[in-house]
Symmetry: C2
Subunit: 229 residues, 2 copies
DNA sequence: AAATTTTTGAGACGCGCGTATCGTATTGAT
DNA sequence: ATCAATACGATACGCGCGTCTCAAAAATTT
């Protein structure tokens, strides 16, 4: 009963063409061809439809839809590809502020390199939200979009002991406001900043939040401002 | 030549049916009917297409497309409607941090009330960005999405003299990261927070940034933490 | 009240996406 | 080399969006 499909949507294998092991045969080959083509197109700025990827990859539309039944699946796969190096990030430092800065330095340029992809992902998640509101939801794959939580918690892990759990969480939540594509949208698109200044503003804000969180916890009513409404 | 259209996309007249002046006739009436229907639908959470609004408003599809040639125009109009009370915001306080808090208290609940609308607007602006990248841009109306700049500058106006212009701008830019719908997306959708906690986090972060900006400028290296890499 | 202008409604059309159904080509094993 | 299994390509279909045309209805003018 239905043993034909062994690969659901994406993230099965990587590029390593070493041994004749995981996923031989033309299936994986065509899929990778499409994924690479899609990645290339998206890095070029466009957000191709499945048909467009099919054409660019020199495969028939029907075949393309076999592997990626929708643009959402396509974008999801490319996002996973682009996210890869970020998810395995590990800091060398023990200082929270420095770790956050390093995380930003690692992740943001890559997010920017895949800007079109991440924006497409955001767009699709908004689509999904709208459909969920309307009740028109077929039981889709459900976009991920939650990686920043773990990454930021990991980054400020050194503060886990020094901060009340509630403040720790709040710091992570606040930092997540200046981490993803949304930052690019606000600072680059709306404000018109370039990449360098965008990074600079995000970094400053992140650092300010980390320092404030630490200062508030140890001081609780001294140096800066003793408000605690 | 081409004097026929006097109303481009939206925000021509308001409801006041006093004098027989601005925009009498059935045109304005039908347009308002559609706008109100669209607003009602969007407040209910859905993001209707032009056809759906037409059906809900009991007008023919053709008529609907006459006034709102696309879903984008529709959303833009509803956004302007929802944004109205925010744009005329004026603070009563002279303290920057307090003004920012007041602005948040005024704007964010309204943004949340129009959540579906603002998310649709964000989605459409992403669409537009993608089309711009691809070169497929017919010369569209061009979404606005820049109001937060003036609002935040106005909110932190009391610091305009006390801060170096560069720091002033950076503070406004950083604050804009925790102001719009993006905040709802990150904190509510990704983190799963409720409205209250979402507001709380945004408020804390905003306050922290304002205080940090002030402290850094007056102290330049004292109380909190003298890092200046 | 009659004529003219304006607004509205109904239907048809093209377009792109996603799906389903075929026959054909390629692969890998006997 | 032959045969079964699997992947591929071409084609056609339904669906929703946006556009267009043309006749009917309503409003405004004379």
């Amino acid at each position: 009963m239905d043993v034909s499909r062994q690969q659901s949507t994406a993230s099965d294998d990587t590029e390593r063409g070493g041994g004749p092991t995981i996923e031989r045969g033309p299936r994986a080959r065509t899929k990778r061809l499409m994924l690479e083509t899609a990645t290339r197109l998206m890095q070029a700025g466009v957000t191709p439809s499945v048909s467009e990827v099919a054409e660019a990859a020199q495969v028939s539309r029907a075949t393309a839809y076999r592997y990626f039944p929708s643009q959402a699946a396509l974008v999801q796969a490319v996002v996973d590809e682009g996210l890869g190096p970020i998810l395995t990030w590990q800091s060398t430092s023990a200082d929270a502020e420095r770790r956050v800065a390093e995380l930003f330095d690692t992740a943001m340029p890559r997010i920017e390199a895949f800007e079109a992809t991440f924006k497409a992902a955001l767009k699709l998640s908004l689509d999904q939200w709208a459909r969920r509101q309307a009740g028109t939801l077929d039981g889709e794959p459900a976009f991920t979009r939650g990686h920043r939580i773990d990454l930021l918690k990991e980054a400020i892990a050194p503060l886990k002991g020094r901060l009340p759990p509630r403040d720790f969480k709040r710091l992570a939540q606040a930092l997540s406001l200046m981490f993803g594509v949304e930052v690019l949208i606000v600072l680059k698109d709306i404000w018109g900043l370039d990449s360098r200044r965008t990074m600079s503003v995000a970094q400053w804000a992140a650092g300010a939040l980390v320092r404030t969180a630490v200062a508030e916890s140890i001081g609780e009513g001294d140096s800066i401002d003793p408000r605690q409404s």
